[in-house]
Symmetry: C2
Subunit: 232 residues, 2 copies
DNA sequence: CGTCGGATTGAGAACGTTCAAGGGGCGTGG
DNA sequence: CCACGCCCCTTGAACGTTCTCAATCCGACG
């Protein structure tokens, strides 16, 4: 996995068109502020609510976003964490099926979906990139089914750490901008269980951490074994 | 939910182009056999394997297909059941991330993805329909996160029944072409648990069944309550 | 220095799984 | 036509993983 990380997988070539930078992770491209407009967000701020009519697509400049849904009784599911360079806002045809909230202070750039659509309609390479992007998102989402449907708590947390490590590309040092509750709601667990698993990994020498938002992977092989890494 | 069912949601207008019939459920359109070519499948037959290079997109004419992934130790996840009129095969950019197998005897029509792409590239309404289709698929997939991540066994089974009832459009009579094992692997449960929940619903007068592959919804309101139906 | 939200740890309970046995439908072969 | 075997479904009992509830700890911030 996972989702946005797949969009950057080997198949997508460098995109010469600014709007489609939306669909890449933006490494080395630089954003096109002329095209969208930036939004500064405080911790916990809502970008859009579940059920709101769709309008814009967003790209994260800095910080982390979560897209989530709440059940009436308060249960929550975090569909995805969106890191800097990744895009979100494509969670419904007419209306958003999830809400989007800032996990940390964040800056995102919003692009009217209509504008993105027109762009994709009139530029063939854009259309192709968009197709691959969406297919990658979809199969990434379905891969999350494996985690939620069939993995144990330890496997989920290990998979999550490896996923973040890949997407964060800061080597073995993994940044966890989100709370244990956020992680739990993304992995279908409770915060207590997540915390216990982290402690277990630490005791086992698989990871180390100075504070609870910064984890160093000490034994990647063992972490991958814990994750039951199914070949992607 | 779920997935393909969303593609037919109110927003997609009737599509005048034959290739895009791929993306609709085909109600009232009729298939275009000149465009793709049909494939007759026996129960259990594999259409493509996980990891195989992508080639075609498929539309189900009759029968039911499942797309699934296996972990090394045999655990299995059924990402989706594809009913007659629905499409599958978009589970990877270069290579399939899931395998596709026939749940029942089935007939599917295969379309080269390249051909579909070209079509979408050159017809604006096609491009728009395709976009909506993929966004609907994606948000449908993410909705499954709610089920797998936060719902109880009874809620999962109830949600599944309601989903099938909507997609099968045969009123309160729900056809279950797949085994309890298939259902379990789609809902992140075991076949025994699924069976127990069905029995519970039957005892409670919520459903009735002559045989185990045919269920009648007797009390839809109560079934929806059991499902904790979050507003889609 | 005190307060507060998040993180950790523990103990007990609950839900779903595992293991095991029995039942039913269907196809094959005698 | 019946018998057998196979696969799937159902049901029960015991077990285990994860959740729930509760207490404590820690770091950030006023």
């Amino acid at each position: 996995m996972h989702i946005a990380s797949l969009a950057r997988g080997g198949s997508a070539p460098a995109l010469p068109f600014p709007a489609l930078d939306m669909l890449s992770t933006g490494e080395g491209h630089g954003l096109q502020p002329a095209f969208g407009h930036p939004l500064r967000l405080e911790r916990g701020a809502e970008i859009y609510a579940e059920g709101a009519p769709v309008g814009d697509v967003y790209k994260v400049v800095s910080g982390t976003i979560r897209t989530c849904r709440y059940l009436q009784d308060g249960r929550r599911v975090v569909a995805e964490f969106v890191l800097a360079g990744e895009a979100f806002g494509l969670d419904g045809v007419d209306h958003h099926h999830f809400s989007a909230e800032a996990v940390t202070e964040a800056v995102v750039i919003s692009f009217p979906r209509r504008q993105l659509n027109e762009w994709v309609d009139h530029e063939l390479p854009a259309a192709r990139a968009w197709r691959n992007f969406m297919i990658a998102k979809l199969s990434g989402a379905q891969s999350h089914f494996v985690l939620l449907g069939r993995k144990t708590a330890a496997e989920r947390v290990a998979s999550f750490l490896l996923d973040l490590a890949e997407r964060g590309n800061s080597g073995a040092l993994v940044d966890l901008p989100m709370s244990r509750y956020d992680i739990a709601d993304h992995l279908g667990l409770t915060a207590e269980t997540v915390s216990r698993i982290f402690s277990g990994f630490k005791r086992g020498g698989i990871i180390a951490n100075r504070d609870c938002r910064k984890v160093r992977i000490l034994d990647r092989a063992r972490l991958e074994a814990e994750a039951s890494r199914d070949i992607l």
